[in-house]
Each structure stands twice: as structure tokens, then as C-alpha cells.
């Protein structure tokens, strides 16, 4: 049973536009959320995170929004660049657990 879901397998955006990647979760005990970026033949790398006590966290071109009541988070990339083309995974951690749960990933293509 997938506790973290990314319902869009792929997304294409024009360079310079905003990319919005979405993630939904079912476990209300999750209290820490992360986004990872993965290029082919490489391991995932950490991008940005957010604690459940916040509803927004920003780092340069990347902003993560958390809507706890909807159990939904999103990653905004503005402006999108061709180098952002990769697979993006969201992940969640339960406040009393040791396990990071990952979504199925969204493949982002930024078109020059």
C-alpha cells in the first residue's frame, strides 16, 4: 500500500516557466518531508525538505509547500532550466519511525 503517491509520472515545461510537482500522502503521522532529484545512472540527491510545523520552505529557485489538512505537498521550480530535467521523488518520515517512504517519482523534462 503506497503511503506516498506521485500521480504524475511525467511533466514537460518550457525553459523559464514554473514547474510544479505534486505529492500526496496518506499517513497523518508523517511529519518531515523531503524532495530528491535523480539523474540517470546516479543516486538520488537531496533537494529540499520541510517540517510539518511549516507550510513553506524556500531555497533559491526551489520552494516546497505543505498542506497538512489535504495531506499534500508540492515542489515549485522557478524558473525552470534544462538542467532541472530529472526524476523527482518526494519522501516522508514518520515522527516515531526510522523509515523514509518514497513516492514513485515524476520525470521532469524542461524544454529549451
Amino acid at each position: 500500500d503506497q503511503q506516498v503517491k506521485q500521480n504524475s509520472p511525467s511533466l514537460s515545461v518550457q525553459e523559464g516557466r514554473i514547474s510544479i510537482l505534486n505529492c500526496d500522502y496518506t499517513n497523518s503521522m508523517f511529519d518531515y518531508f523531503l524532495w530528491y532529484k535523480k539523474y540517470p545512472a546516479e543516486g538520488p540527491t537531496f533537494l529540499i525538505s520541510i517540517s510539518s510545523i511549516k507550510d513553506k520552505n524556500e531555497d533559491g529557485r526551489f520552494t516546497v509547500f505543505l498542506n497538512k489538512s489535504a495531506k499534500h505537498l508540492s515542489l515549485h521550480i522557478v524558473p525552470s532550466q534544462p538542467g532541472d530535467s530529472a526524476v523527482y521523488f518526494c519522501a516522508a518520515l514518520q515522527n516515531t519511525g526510522n523509515q523514509f517512504y518514497f513516492g514513485t517519482g515524476t520525470s521532469l523534462t524542461v524544454i529549451p
Binding site: 506521485q6 523531503l34 530528491y36 538520488p44 540527491t45 515522527n95 526510522n98 523509515q99 518514497f102 514513485t104
Partner: protein, 113 residues
Amino acid sequence: DAGITQSPRHKVTETGTPVTLRCHQTENHRYMYWYRQDPGHGLRLIHYSYGVKDTDKGEVSDGYSVSRSKTEDFLLTLESATSSQTSVYFCAITDRLNTGELFFGEGSRLTVL
């Protein structure tokens, strides 16, 4: 970059043979994880460790065992490999949970014929 290495990086084996993947870290991180990545499934947790000789199952642990006899090494063993275990395996480490992040290795691609 976190000091984490996986070996072997690529392996082709036959059904029924045992396979061991190694994850080695130089960061002295407490937590270590083994994930597998498959199309349509994302990253799924196989096993994890929260200390030397302390391990627990993840969501797809059947057919896999792990061992951690020292802080720096976390071994994943397929006792009798099956074609369904063809995948890319990632090791990850962290020293803090609620404020930390996972650092991933570069992956081990396993093909079971």
C-alpha cells in the same frame, strides 16, 4: 559528498545463485538503508539498520537478508536470486532523522538471468 560506496556497481548472475551487495560508509552515520528502484514503483525500502547488529524489515524484504557487523558496512544478501530481483539497488545513510537527509550511494545494477 557523503562517503558512501556500493559494490559491485554492476552484476549479472543466474537464477538460484547467492548474491551479496555491499554498502560502505566513512561518515560514521547510525542509520543505513537498502532500497530498490523499479519502473512504476519508485524507491522501495528493503531493509534498514539503526545500529550495529540492529536491523529491521522494510516494505519489500521477502527474499532478502541483511547484516551489519560494524558501523561502516551494511550487506544485502539475496540467498537465491530470482528474476524478480533484477533491479537497481541503492544504499542510503543518515545520522539524524527529523532534521537530516538521506545520502545515497551511486547504485548497484543487478541482473538475474
